[in-house]
């Protein structure tokens, strides 16, 4: 039984204690309230969805090259989610679209795009294509990196998303609610780079207009097709959002067997453009999943080069899993310099910018793998190989010398 103190022995309530809590609370409010404020939506990101993550990583800049929807990994005994049931039924956004307009895409070089003759043939073709396809599955995220959750606001359902395929066919994708998250889904079938873009417009209570843009890209090793007749650069220009952040990493070429990944320690060149014009002297911030961040300013060509920061792996043991890096940049019309930039690409608007404050934000989520140099040693491998060779070679020579009287 607890011993109770008599009331008289209790110390009197001290008023000054309230004062002690006040300043830390105030400081916390000053620092965290703007971030927690629901009015400021933060940045828009496209992160590889669970299907791409499950598929094991590989030839993508934003996820992994997969084994197709028919081969999703699922834990034993786990109930199939709505998302997976949809995938199992071999129904992808692209296929749905094709069902609607099979004739439209006929003969455009997309494998299986021609309308099958019979329904049976169509079903077989669809199954074959779904088995061959790699998932292009992205989660839309809204907020301040790195503390973003898949629990997304319903506003994201309004986001305009589109995919540009290697055959230069462009399609508007509809964001859909999958559990707590809002995702877009497509099936990558043919070889090449797929560009995905998303944009969202929001207005807060103060009348500030937030225009949020983001892009993502993935490479697919799928079926090879004829090169497109149109100019891919022009198609990409048209596809990119108005305020864009592009990853200018060197093109990995046409060898789709090669695994292309970004590793910590690599260079990440980015280009920021507004309406196709480079934006100079704009601060761009790169944030790691752990919250480390660095800010650099764009040059005259709107370009900036980051060195992908190494995360602190030593206190967690060896972490080989990929991590997400977030790059972001902002143009605020309240800043005169930024307003001029915005005006310069809107010649029609003249001196009459949109009413209220306009904030343009662009961002990029990148999957980065920890560099294997953290846990691998080529020198050790090389020395082991050489030493083994020397030991076996010398051993055999000495044995022969003893038995046959000659070294070889």
């Amino acid at each position: 039984m607890k011993k109770r103190c008599p009331a008289a022995s209790l110390p009197p309530m001290q008023k000054s204690r309230r004062g002690r809590c006040f300043f830390p609370l105030l400081l916390a409010l000053i620092f965290f309230l703007p971030m927690a404020s629901p009015a400021d939506p933060g940045f828009l990101f496209l992160e590889p969805g669970p299907e791409m993550r499950r598929s094991g990583g590989g030839n993508t800049q934003g996820g992994g090259h997969g084994t197709g929807m028919g081969m999703q990994r699922k834990k034993e005994g786990q109930e199939a989610s709505e998302n997976e049931r949809q995938a199992d039924s071999k129904k992808t956004g692209m296929e749905e679209k094709e069902e609607k307009s099979a004739m439209k895409s006929k003969g455009k070089g997309h494998p299986g795009s021609a309308a099958p003759e019979s329904e049976k043939g169509e079903k077989k073709e669809r199954e074959k294509r779904a088995a061959m396809s790699h998932p292009a599955h992205y989660t839309l995220l809204l907020g301040w990196p790195p503390a973003m959750k898949a629990q997304a606001p319903e506003d994201l359902l309004r986001a305009e998303t589109a995919i540009l395929r290697p055959d230069l066919s462009r399609e508007i994708l509809t964001p859909q609610k999958e559990g707590p998250a809002i995702r877009i889904r497509d099936a990558a079938l043919i070889q090449g780079t797929y560009h995905i873009s998303a944009s969202l417009e929001k207005t807060d209570d103060e009348g500030r207009i937030f225009r949020l843009f983001t892009t993502a890209s993935m490479r697919n090793t799928g079926e090879k097709t004829d090169p497109p007749e149109k100019n891919p650069e022009t198609a990409l220009e048209a596809h990119l959002p108005w305020f864009s952040m592009e990853d200018l990493s060197p093109d990995p070429g046409n060898n789709f067997a090669r695994i292309h990944r970004k590793y910590t320690g690599d260079t990440l060149p980015l280009r920021i453009r507004l309406g196709g014009m480079p934006v100079p002297d704009l601060p761009v911030t790169l944030t790691t999943a752990e919250g480390w961040q660095q800010t650099l300013h764009t040059d005259e060509a709107g370009q900036v080069k980051f060195i992908l920061i190494k995360e602190r792996f030593h206190d967690k043991g060896v972490n080989k899993a990929p991590i997400t890096f977030y790059a972001r940049a902002e143009l605020d019309s309240r800043s005169e310099k930024h307003l001029e930039i915005i005006k310069s690409v809107r010649p029609d608007a003249g001196d009459n910018p949109p009413a209220g404050t306009e904030i343009l934000r662009t961002s990029l989520a990148l999957t980065v793998h920890p560099t294997p140099l953290d846990w691998e040693s080529r020198a050790a491998g090389f020395y082991t190989l050489i030493l083994t060779g020397l030991v076996i070679g010398l051993g055999t020579a000495i044995r022969r010398r003893k038995r046959r009287g000659r070294w070889f």
Partner: protein, 340 residues
């Protein structure tokens, strides 16, 4: 033209295709029953064992569920390749076999004497390739599933054979890729496997200067392909009554298979180590004692005439018939006396 020269030429062509084919030509898939390493980035085709181990590491529910079709397609493709070409893959296509043959050529050119396995040693190690085959099936299975109530194995054991195969560090070297010549310190399993890989690669390179094709004696792919020895399209038949037990076939055999000379009653001579290189047919002086067949139809038979023609050509070139058989009827190297 000598068969071993034709074989070396075909091997070189296949090597170039399998290592660099991905750059320009189409790929022939990832279910080929030969040691064409999947870690070579510009490959034109790759070994069946990598996807096989990957499939086996899936949970049962997935392997026999959503991945069943793909798994069956893989198995079917492998069976088809193995049925049609069988052990020809080992002797004529395998890049690791080609590398070993190249090392042997260099050894002969430099003038280093080769060695042979003692027959007892050879018999003693016959089980190794079957043990490796069993391990490469069981270990991945234990990653995705609990075997006999045991806890699941660490994912570091994924593709266990590929992690120790000498092809992994050596074949990418031909594309200038040194990234597999490493020791991995991330976990004990990785450390052990990567060290083993380096040791085996060292053994492969230097051992090739001592014995011919000795790594093939431990190859699990050979164990898999030996399942098709009797039913495969390509065969090697022996006519017992024509054989005089001269022992030429045994002495010429790169795999040192003594059954080829010892057994007169056996009709099908494709044994577990045979790689269908056809050297035995080439050096056989007896008419139709040995015959290579495709779907039972003879394509290349031993003949006294052909033997003498090749013998004269070699003699006029000023060398022995082949490096290791200066005398054709030599009781000292006769398998029967040698076995004693």
């Amino acid at each position: 033209m000598r068969v071993d020269r034709i074989r070396l030429f075909v091997q070189a062509l296949c090597f170039v295709f399998l290592i660099y084919g991905g750059l320009t030509i189409f790929s022939i898939g990832t279910a080929i029953p030969t040691m064409a390493c999947i870690y070579a980035e510009n490959r034109g085709g790759s070994c069946f064992l990598y996807p096989f181990q990957r499939f086996l590491s899936m949970p049962w529910a997935m392997l026999f569920g959503s991945a069943a079709t793909a798994f069956l397609i893989y198995l079917g493709t492998f069976f088809l390749w193995a049925l049609v070409f069988g052990k020809t893959f080992c002797g004529w296509i395998c890049p690791l076999g080609f590398l070993q043959d190249l090392i042997t050529k260099i050894r002969e050119w430099v003038g280093i004497d080769g060695s042979r396995f003692a027959w007892k040693t050879r018999d003693r190690f016959q089980w190794v390739k079957y043990a490796l085959l069993a391990l490469l099936i069981l270990l991945p299975m234990g990653i995705g599933n609990s075997l006999l109530g045991l806890p699941r194995f660490t994912p570091d054991l994924a593709v266990p054979f590929c992690q120790i195969c000498p092809g992994k560090p050596l074949i990418p070297l031909f594309e200038g890729d040194l990234s597999h010549l490493i020791i991995d310190f991330s976990s004990t399993t990785k450390l052990v496997l990567s060290s083993l890989s380096m040791l085996i690669a060292g053994l492969f390179l230097v051992g090739g200067f001592v014995k011919r094709r000795y790594i093939c004696a431990f190859c699990p792919m050979a164990a898999l392909l030996s399942l098709f020895d009797r039913i495969g399209f390509v065969g090697l038949k022996k006519k017992g009554e024509a054989c005089t037990c001269c022992g030429n076939c045994f002495r010429a055999c790169p795999m040192e298979i003594r059954e080829i000379a010892e057994l007169r009653d056996k009709k099908h001579m494709v044994t577990q180590d045979c790689m269908l290189c056809m050297r035995c047919i080439e050096v056989c002086p007896e008419n139709k004692a040995l015959t290579a067949t495709i779907i039972g139809l003879p394509v290349f038979s031993a003949s006294a005439e052909g033997f003498l023609k090749r013998q004269n050509k070699t003699a006029s070139a000023g060398g022995p018939f082949h490096g290791e058989t200066p005398a054709l009827q030599d009781t000292a190297t006769d398998p029967e006396s040698a076995s004693k």
